[in-house]
Structures are given as structure tokens and as C-alpha cells.
Amino acid sequence: MSFKATPRESGAVTVIDVSGRITLGEGSSMLREMLRDLLNKGQKRIILNLADVNYIDSSGIGELVSGYTTVKNQGGELKLLHLTKRVHDLLQITRLFTVFDVQSDERAAIASFG
């Protein structure tokens, strides 16, 4: 399944529904551009809904890290929602599970922004 990212607003929070593979090339760069656009528009509360992301490689992991630090450096927050087992396991072994704010319920994720 090819990469797709669709943003939607939920109050002051932007939820990006991501599907497909986040890998070197198209997926990684599209996600980066979307996050940059949102930040430029002043939207700094962002949730990446990864429920339909079934594959992510080291470049994709790097892109999540890049997104996290970029948003954080601009005073915002990036949270991850609905990790698939594969993505969960990858973040676990790379110790990034402790870095990201990982949520399993969208309402709770939205409410968790300070």
C-alpha cells in the first residue's frame, strides 16, 4: 500500500491519518512537507495516527524523530496514535518508545495536550 497522509482538524489539534509505508523516498519526504506546512500555519498540536501504517524503515523512523524535534523546537507537541504491532516493536527496540508520547485513544490523545 502506498503512502498517504490526510490531515483533519479536531479543535486546536491536527490529526494526520497516515497509511501505507513510511520509507526512504516518497513516504518520508511527504510527511516532512506536511508537518512543515502545518507548522507554518501555526498548527503546533499534532497527532500522527499510524493505525494504518504497516511498515516503516530506518528512514521512516528518522522522519518521525525529525518531525518530533521540529515540532518541539517550535514550541509544539507531536504525539503518536494507534501504533501497529510492527511499528510499536520498532520503536521499542530503538528505545524511541520512551521518547514519543504514544497514545492508544484519540479522545485521550487530544485531551492530553497541555
Binding site: 520509507t23 526512504l24 524503515d57 524523530v65 510492527r86 530503538t94
Partner: protein
């Protein structure tokens, strides 16, 4: 019964498309060799990461350079070799991506993933020049059994 070694060699151009191609070929071979879906994903991703390294760092995205990938169905394991035409590198020089100071780096996790997902992993200088990554995954039935034999399931021929 001894299963003869089967060897498949692929020569790829230094292109982004080669990454996908190498992974796709690998998934077919690993599936035919009897690995389950989870192991196939791990083996495929290891090949993907290795070819990405060859594409980006080894061959420096120079299309005229080649990436050689060899799959060998040995009696107890699938061994994969990825060779580039770059300057080579020392494994000891690769930073630990799990170290606190490297956690937020946006790259440098490929080798860690290969090491995590495969049973054997080594990097050596190639006789033809460049780096040669050699990694292997033991067949499901041979992880705890006699390493010289393959289970019935493992005797399926690659399609």
C-alpha cells in the same frame, strides 16, 4: 537428506528503485524458504537497510556503481551478502543509536536493525573493493535443532 545449496545473485544499479527491488526479491526467497511472515519482514527489512546503505553511503548515489546482492540457501540458514563499490567502513566506527546522545538522531539505525533482526551479521572489506555485509537467518526448524539439518518445512524449493 542433504539439500543442495542454492545461490541467487542479483546486480543492481545504484538507484532508489533498487532498494524496493532487492527487498521484493528477498521476501520471495525468504517466503519460499519457509520463513513465517514476521521473519520475512525482518529479513526483508535487513536487506532493504543494507541496500539503502550501499546506495547512499557506499556508492554515494552514483548510478554507474553497482550493488551486488547474493542469496544463498545453505543447509541451515539463508545467508545474504550485500556488496557495494564504495570506500568501505568499520563497524566499530558506527555510533550506537541506543546511546542517550544519539536517540534523537534522524539516521544511523540501519545497522542496528540488521543486527537485531538477523542471527548473524558481519561487515568485511570485499576482495573486489567496497564493503561486504554478510548476514544470515537460520531456518525456523534449525534454531534449536541440529544446525546442519533442515526441517521438512525448510526443504521447499524457492519458486
Amino acid at each position: 537428506m542433504t539439500v543442495p545449496t542454492q545461490r541467487i545473485e542479483v546486480t543492481l544499479e545504484t538507484l532508489l528503485d533498487s532498494v524496493e527491488l532487492a527487498e521484493e526479491i528477498c521476501l520471495r526467497i525468504a517466503g519460499a524458504a519457509g520463513f513465517d511472515e514476521d521473519d520475512c519482514m525482518k529479513i526483508g527489512m535487513s536487506v532493504r537497510e543494507s541496500v539503502i546503505n550501499a546506495f547512499q553511503y557506499g556508492n554515494g548515489q552514483q548510478r554507474e556503481k553497482k550493488i551486488h546482492v547474493t542469496f544463498e540457501l545453505l543447509p541451515a540458514k539463508l545467508e545474504i551478502t550485500v556488496r557495494d563499490q564504495g570506500p568501505g567502513f568499520n563497524l566499530e566506527d558506527v555510533p550506537d543509536p541506543l546511546a542517550e546522545e544519539n536517540l534523537l538522531k534522524t539516521s544511523g539505525r540501519g545497522i542496528f536493525l540488521m543486527r537485531s533482526f538477523m542471527d548473524e551479521f558481519a561487515v568485511r572489506p570485499s576482495r573486489q573493493g567496497g564493503a561486504e555485509v554478510v548476514m544470515a537467518k537460520r531456518y525456523p526448524g534449525s534454531r534449536t535443532a541440529d544446525p546442519g539439518s533442515r526441517s521438512t518445512q525448510d526443504k521447499e524449493e524457492p519458486s
